[in-house]
Amino acid sequence: MDGDDVIVLSGLTKLYEPTPRWMRIFARSHLTEPVKALDGVDLTVRAGEICAIVGPNGAGKTTMFRILVGLTTSTGGTATIMGLDAGRDSEQVRQVVGWMPSEDRSLLMRATSKENLQLHGRLQGMPRRELAERIPYVLETVNLTAQTESVVAGLSAGMRARLRLARALLPGPRALILDEPTGAVDPIAAHGLLTLIMDLVKQERLAVLISSHRLEEIEALQSHALLMDRGRVNYSGDLDSLRREWDRPVVEFVLDTPADAYAVADNLAAQGLEAHVDDTSVRCGHAGDEPVGAVLARLGPLAASIRHVREHPMPLRDLIARVYERGTKA
């Protein structure tokens, strides 16, 4: 383990057991069969790194987060934060991790921003004097100074998200676990929140685990990504490498007339490529690592009628879908 490694998961596995029969007398069970929520997940998040956990519902993201903050235990492998075992040293782990749950409801809605932070700070064991200095600092960090004495119920969704972040930052954690931090936040506020998180990561060298369904946000974070499906890791690495490996850009040829466009499309189809005509442009997804020049060369005299050539990178959504497709086939 490197000195900079903050969050380390090694072969992390969680098998949810069915609810024991005696318990079903008192309450209807939601689990009657064992469910493997995590299956041998390996991950290292170093200080100053963001790792985005991406996956459909049931991928195992929440289970991973719940193991890290001690709300459930793993059935195999290990999860450590700053060398502390998430299962055995749960109480200490909860002191070095800042947890930002996805829901606003985790805040005391009728209390003020300051009161919410005071309660959290005291439970974290922060001395009163330290807390008195720290609360204005974190509120300023998340740009909520003006809302210090405001009742949470009166704050906007974006402000509440920032308050949840302030609460996570209050005790000065080394690792942040952010469960869909921008869930109910509008795109502009979400952008501000993510920029803030990125700045904090750079300045304070925090290790951040973040889950989000908004793929454009994951891309904006320029982070390490862990693509998960049914408890397994389908891809682990940075998004640039993912693009290099999986991106199949679409090439668009813009021609003078629709007739030229159809002629080019026929030629491309004859080369075994998929081509779609839209007025004077032809979109073509070229196969493999073949350079665009090779495709152009095979167009022969038709290439002279091409006015523009544009390359459209694959949207991250499609890229991830391809990775999942491979995972399903495997």
Binding site: E17, R110, Q118, G125, R134, T141
Partner: protein
């Protein structure tokens, strides 16, 4: 200042953690009392009416002031212990439904302490309301033996502790099955009958009287009556014996309650149903 505040894990002694946790939860309760000021005021005002009810009933039935106080003390103890007994289940359910329980559990405090910490304010206010009811009875002419008040407060305190311990069994039930009120409500109603809220337990048939000795309410009510009502006949358990039994009961139920709560937490954590 920087966002990274402690250089290492902030080590606190067990005692400091207990104090911090109790203080923080009392603060949460105070904030919640302030969140809904009208309902808080009404809750405190509501105690006036049972006192008036028993007062006018005793006037109508032309029963003695001592009998009026016998009923009032029983009702006051039941009301005071009710808060200690049901407060925790109410709070846990509220936190679970509102989504704050997960946040409480993620704090670095010993989980076994949470039931006690969550219920401390409610228990204190419950005891206060019981005292206010007895004081109102005294204002209405009911006899109160002033020298017995300190011992009566000690007995009430022990009763509240015992009910808190019983409350942690209910908390375990909530953790595992997500519903605890029916159990507590059933116990609470049974306790008011078996504890002899409005009558001495000697009135109960012999075949059921043994059950009275299983609820702390019986000991608290019997001792309070003997301590606070002048001239109460020295029948049944003496206040000292009731206090000693109550102390033993509290100790056993506290240890057992904490053990069961800890086991339930472990099971809920393993099954992944904690706070869900």
């Amino acid at each position: 200042m920087t966002s990274v505040y402690p250089a290492t894990v902030n080590k606190r002694s067990r005692f400091t953690k207990v104090v911090d946790t109790l203080e923080a939860y009392i603060r949460i309760d105070l904030v919640e009392e302030r969140m809904f000021p009208a309902s808080t005021i009404m809750r405190y005002l509501a105690v006036v009416f049972p006192v008036l009810l028993y007062y006018f009933q005793s006037t109508f039935l032309t029963i003695s002031d001592e009998l009026f106080m016998t009923m009032l003390i029983g009702a006051a103890v039941i009301a005071g212990l009710q808060d200690a007994l049901t407060g925790l289940t109410g709070r846990l359910n509220f936190a679970m439904e509102r989504g704050t329980l997960e946040t409480y559990l993620v704090e670095p405090v010993p989980w076994a302490l949470i039931p006690v910490a969550m219920n401390i304010w409610r228990s204190v206010t419950g005891a206060l309301l019981a005292c206010v009811m007895v004081a109102l009875g005294w204002l209405l002419g009911g006899p109160v033996h002033a020298p017995g008040i300190p011992a009566a407060l000690l007995v009430l305190f022990l009763g509240i502790l015992a009910c808190n311990a019983l409350g942690s069994f209910a908390a375990s039930f909530i953790l595992l099955f997500k519903r605890g009120e029916p159990v507590v409500m059933l116990y609470s109603l049974a306790a008011s009958v078996l504890g002899g809220a409005l009558f001495p337990i000697e009135v109960l048939p012999v075949w059921i009287r043994w059950a009275s000795y299983l609820v702390p309410h019986s000991y608290v009510i019997a001792a309070e009556r003997r301590l606070l009502i002048p001239g109460t006949p020295a029948e049944g358990l003496s206040p000292l014996a009731a206090t000693l039994i109550l102390a033993g009961f509290t100790l056993v139920t506290f240890v057992a309650g904490m053990f069961v709560f800890d086991r339930s937490l472990r099971l809920a954590r393993r099954l992944g149903i904690l706070s869900i």
